[in-house]
Symmetry: C2
Subunit: 318 residues, 2 copies
């Protein structure tokens, strides 16, 4: 079957995503054109997923598509920005209609779920890799950055940590998970959920935020460096599944990547808002795991205080 | 040498490009934040270059960087948009300080030349590939699209066609070029020049435009399909180097990719503006190569009229 880039895009990538902010000009020209509403700023992120690096080669195409979009949406959530549009660059080793159909369906499902519209992209032949660039909108001056944490702020995370890392360990046969949590952990790895439901809450209450892609200790470290503060976190308070507790396998929660939960800081005075959020949102519970200090980066593990400055998150080029 | 993504970006990718439109928030957070001035719209494009596909594996890193940015800027030129910001996603097989330094310098040079600012990106380990996403600005409603060509419009191209294709043929030893044009053709292939100097001219005068990445016949075909018109082009009028003329190697100009010149249409009444442009811009001459007709797509080659509807431009998935 012969199919050029033009018809490939028309067949598989037209009408992906619903339009919260309809584009002026979408697919089919040299570039897309969008309008940023008055009083808003554009928030932009890009991330590439490569076969054999970011996902196993056997990963279903729909899962790859979902994850490629989700990890970018997660960056927007951490900025308290609402997703609007995305561009896709897709490199494929060959033309496989079934694969493309599945990829397209996964992309469509995720794009519609989060109301973000595919407005452009390119395809080419090469090793399997997917790059998504996403643009969100935030009210002028209301973006949430990494540099706003203040001494005394509480440190919180959304959801449960370590599931994706456990899922990977299971896939790589480093760990055998019980049936009771296996699917949960594999799903966390394959279909991460960007915490966009927190955009409004964070924009009102948080002082800083980051999304957890490379592991809590490393990612929170970015907030500390940018904010020029320290932190104390308590291992016993980390929201983890019962298997991690039973096996004391907290490294998955502390250092495991790919959770795509949000870690953020917030002034104590906003604590009632957290309590209220948790009552209303049982699927996105917020957990206090520690507080911002004026220096040092410490983990309380039982009776021990561990210095986290020498701790390493996942590093691509170590 | 150990270097994580964070310090890699800080070391090689901070302060790339001058800021015609300074970003609100650049590198170092989950996403970048930019402000689109009132009365302007954002124009967005993305393109990936892959080692062994879009450039030979031996290509110097600086050339790869220049080309990755230039091909995206070329898309903006074809939309009559002025470049503002770009994001970079870089996949590298290993950490090579010399390569990164050279890549960074090439990127910096191109970004400064065209006043576009690097505001974000990601790096990861994988097969060598470079994705650039660029955002430009255009006055509301003034974007130049592919669907505006009208019967009677003149068809023009900028610069000289076929040099990049000849350069590739020389590199691949399919052709041996004389010294007199070898460097010119290799440079056209390795360091394409985005025709941003034409942005203002096109915005005022052109009825449609496209950049020539896949070859004139195929790319002009996109304008014809979108505008629902035909065209007649004259081979003898194509702006080509003397070697192509002597060897009647017009296929390089008609079907060769990678020129990144612009092809556009314009109403006859604007012809004086073309004459005036050519007097003032000897480095970016515009050449009339044919006209828009109401149907058919025809090449006049000597006494022959060739039907171009069956002609194929470069197709990634043929």
């Amino acid at each position: 079957m012969s199919l050029n880039e033009f018809s490939l895009i028309e067949r598989y990538f037209a009408n992906i995503g619903s339009a919260r902010y309809p584009a002026i000009l979408s697919l089919g020209d040299d570039a897309a054109v969008v309008s940023v509403p008055e009083g808003m700023q554009a928030v932009m992120s890009i991330d590439t997923l490569i076969s054999g690096v970011h996902f196993p080669e056997s990963t279903p195409a729909a899962d790859i598509a979902c994850k490629a979009l989700a990890v970018n949406l997660s960056d927007l959530a951490a900025m308290a920005a609402t997703p609007a549009w995305f561009l896709l660059s897709l490199s494929l080793p060959d033309f496989d209609a079934n694969w493309l159909q599945s990829f397209s369906e996964g992309l469509k499902q995720t794009a519609e779920q989060y109301q973000v519209e595919l407005i452009g992209g390119d395809t080419c032949r090469g090793p399997l890799s997917v790059t998504v660039q996403v643009t969100g909108l935030v009210e002028v001056g209301r973006q949430l950055t990494r540099d706003g944490a203040r001494v005394g702020d509480k440190i919180l995370v959304s959801g449960v940590l370590g599931n994706a890392s456990l899922g990977l360990a299971h896939l790589q046969q480093r760990t055998v998970l019980p049936e009771s949590i296996k699917d949960l952990c594999l799903s966390a790895l394959k279909r991460p959920v960007p915490r966009l439901e927190l955009v409004d809450f964070l924009g009102r209450h948080a002082s800083s935020a980051i999304d957890l892609s490379d592991g809590l200790v490393g990612d929170l470290g970015h907030i500390l460096r940018r904010s020029r503060v320290g932190a104390l976190i308590r291992q016993a308070d980390l929201p983890v599944n019962h298997w991690i507790k039973q096996n004391e396998a907290y490294a998955h929660a502390l250092n495991g990547g790919d959770d795509y939960e949000l870690c953020f800081t917030l002034a104590s005075k906003f604590w009632p808002a957290v309590v209220s959020w948790n009552l209303d949102n049982p699927d996105c519970l917020l957990t206090e795991i520690g507080e911002i200090t004026d220096s040092n980066y410490t983990l309380i593990e039982g009776n021990q205080a561990i210095d986290l400055n020498d701790w390493h998150g996942y590093r691509h080029f170590d």
